[in-house]
């Protein structure tokens, strides 16, 4: 599956004061892959992807994207290179319309120099907004305020915003959290469709979603990567069973 390595993180550490949230983690993701990161709460999953997206800076370690060292790059420069993060807690602009939400992302892709930013044609932005909204099925809500949408639609809007940024690596942080069962299956379909154009890094608690979508699974516990493999390998792995079952079995 993974022909070329898209993302390579080595020796990643992140300390918050005395807490070691990520401990010497390695992550290697191939182009076109759907990678899931699983692990108990507090395992450091969100911290790890925040290091990848540039929301946080690593205490130690190196991150390379398409062979280029991006460790020192700020979040916005990583977005420009195609690393896009969607929030765990829906973080759309509630007071703006769906159109405006997606337009912000779409124009980011179109904007070159400052002069261009001032004269950029709205028509070209509008075309991209329409494409992104139609891919998630929200074309009809274009003029509505984002905050008025039902929760499931807000999540879809969040995805549409990410799509308009034309990601090469799309990071989805617990995308199915709070969604109803039928919404989840639609969401999986959407992720599969997106994965035809982008590599996907998925943090997910719902194991049926993980097993259905992921090509490869990375398991984290207490800040460390404890296992990595195909869904079949992970299901059979003793260490993973212990990490999960041990925790579940505790009173």
């Amino acid at each position: 599956m993974a022909a070329v390595t898209l993302l390579e993180a080595t020796g990643l550490n992140k300390n918050f004061g005395g807490l070691q949230a990520v401990n010497d983690a390695e992550l290697r993701i191939g182009g076109g892959e759907i990678r899931a990161i699983i692990g108990p709460n507090g395992a450091g999953k969100t911290t790890l992807v925040s290091l990848v997206s540039g929301r946080l800076r690593p205490t130690e370690g190196k991150i390379a994207f398409k062979g280029e060292d991006i460790t020192r790059l700020r979040a916005w420069d990583r977005v420009a290179r195609g690393i896009v993060y969607t929030y765990q807690v829906t973080s759309i602009y509630n007071n703006l319309t769906c159109y405006e939400n997606v337009a912000l992302a779409a124009q980011r892709r179109l904007m070159g120099g400052l002069l261009q930013r001032l004269v950029l044609g709205e028509q070209r932005i509008a075309e991209r907004v329409e494409v992104a909204l139609s891919r998630v099925g929200l074309t009809g809500s274009m003029g509505r305020q984002a905050g008025e949408l039902p929760y499931g639609h807000q999540r879809l809007l969040e995805v549409a915003v990410s799509l308009a940024l034309e990601p090469e690596l799309l990071i989805l942080d617990e995308p199915t959290q709070g969604l109803a069962r039928d919404e989840i299956s639609d969401f999986c379909e959407l992720v599969r469709m997106i994965s035809q154009q982008a590599t996907i890094l998925l943090i997910e608690h719902n194991m049926s979603v993980v097993l259905e979508l992921a090509h490869m699974i990375t398991v984290m516990d207490k800040g460390e990567v404890i296992a990595e493999g195909t869904p079949a390998e992970i299901e059979a792995d003793d260490g993973v069973q212990r990490a999960y079952l041990g925790r579940d079995a505790a009173p």
Binding site: S53, R55, R74, A75, W76, D77, V79, A80, Y85, Y87, S91, I92, Y93, N94, N95, L96, T97, Y99, E100, A103, L104, A105, Q107, R108, M111, R117, L118, L120, E122, I125, A126, V161, L165
Partner: protein, 320 residues
């Protein structure tokens, strides 16, 4: 907030300019002069609103940008005998340069710290104008009318003592500031500024270096404020350190709040209303600030989002 200004919105805002243009034919001299002053101050509020209303940055130091314009124009006329256009340009540039310098430092802070930092810089600027009173005239100020030559364009000669010149120069300034702020709000850059106001962290994760955008907003805001200050000095031929005092930082905040933060028409309505509330009440009583206070309380109760903001929320959501 629509994706682009519709014909309705353009017509409404152009209508305001037309009303102001026609009004000078009917207004009695007293109100004629008042309105000229209001339009200059409203331009200051328009500049302030770019930063506060559309970028979400609350500054308590805008007097320094207005004063930079006042002194940039006034001192070049008084000491260097600049013509009106050159002096106006010097005023705008002073506001712009000061905003750039202050922005580079102050924008490293946000929220309350930003407010305090801008306040401190403005106080420093105020004290500077007093310290160099040999040049600035300190709090006594300087009258520049005798130094300012009439403006000649072709065979026309415009004297700044002429009320019609005052009025139309003020209107021109207001119309340009108004148009600039409208164009900005509807541009892709304006969209990013509004996004910063709504959620800066999210905007960074959409790939925007928000610091650069905030700096740009500050520069535009400072330049418009400087232009207003320069025009004030030229039209009313007085420069003085009052314009750098904290009062002149609070005024644009108040005018914008009363009119409606983050609305295009708010600044002119808020400035006009507050000007006349002060004007009328000070004619009635010496304790006119009581009246001003009551009016403000009523406005906060009935129009919590300012006049235009509340009108937009209740009746006309399409207003920009």
């Amino acid at each position: 907030m629509r994706q682009r200004p519709s014909g309705k919105i353009l017509a409404l805002h152009a209508g305001i300019i037309v009303v102001l243009l026609v009004a000078q034919l009917f207004l009695p001299p007293y109100h004629h002069t008042n309105l000229a002053r209001i339009m200059v101050f409203a331009s200051f509020a328009v500049g302030y609103n770019v930063l506060m209303g559309y970028t979400g940055l609350l500054s308590l130091g805008h007097a320094m940008f207005f004063a930079a314009g006042v002194y940039g124009a006034g001192l070049t006329v008084f000491h260097l005998h600049f013509g009106a256009i050159e002096a106006f340009g010097a005023g705008v540039l002073s506001g712009l340069a000061l905003a750039t310098a202050i922005g580079l430092v102050a924008l490293r802070t946000t929220g309350v710290s930003f407010l305090i930092v801008t306040l401190m810089f403005a106080q420093a600027a105020f004290l500077t104008t007093l310290h160099f009173n040999q040049i600035t005239g300190g709090d006594q100020g300087l009258v520049i009318s005798s130094e300012l030559a009439s403006l000649r364009i072709g065979s026309f000669e415009f004297s700044f003592a002429d009320p019609a010149v005052k009025y139309n120069a003020a209107l021109l300034l207001f119309a340009v500031s108004f148009a600039v702020s409208m164009a900005l709000v509807y541009s892709p850059v304006g969209r990013v500024l509004i996004a910063i106001r709504e959620n800066e962290a999210r905007t960074r994760m959409l790939g925007y270096n928000t610091y650069k955008y905030k700096l740009l907003s500050m520069i535009i805001s400072g330049a418009i404020s400087g232009a207003a200050g320069a025009m004030y000095a030229l039209l009313f031929s007085y420069v003085g350190s009052t314009f750098a005092s904290i009062q002149y930082s609070i005024f644009p905040l108040l005018w914008t709040l009363v009119g409606g933060v983050g609305t295009l028409m708010g600044p002119i309505l808020g400035t006009g209303l507050m000007f006349y509330v002060v004007d009328v009440s000070s004619g009635l009583t010496h304790s006119h600030l009581i009246v001003v206070g009551i009016v403000l309380v009523v406005l906060v109760l009935w129009f919590p989002r300012g006049i235009v903001g509340t009108v937009r929320e209740r009746w006309f959501p399409w207003l920009p």
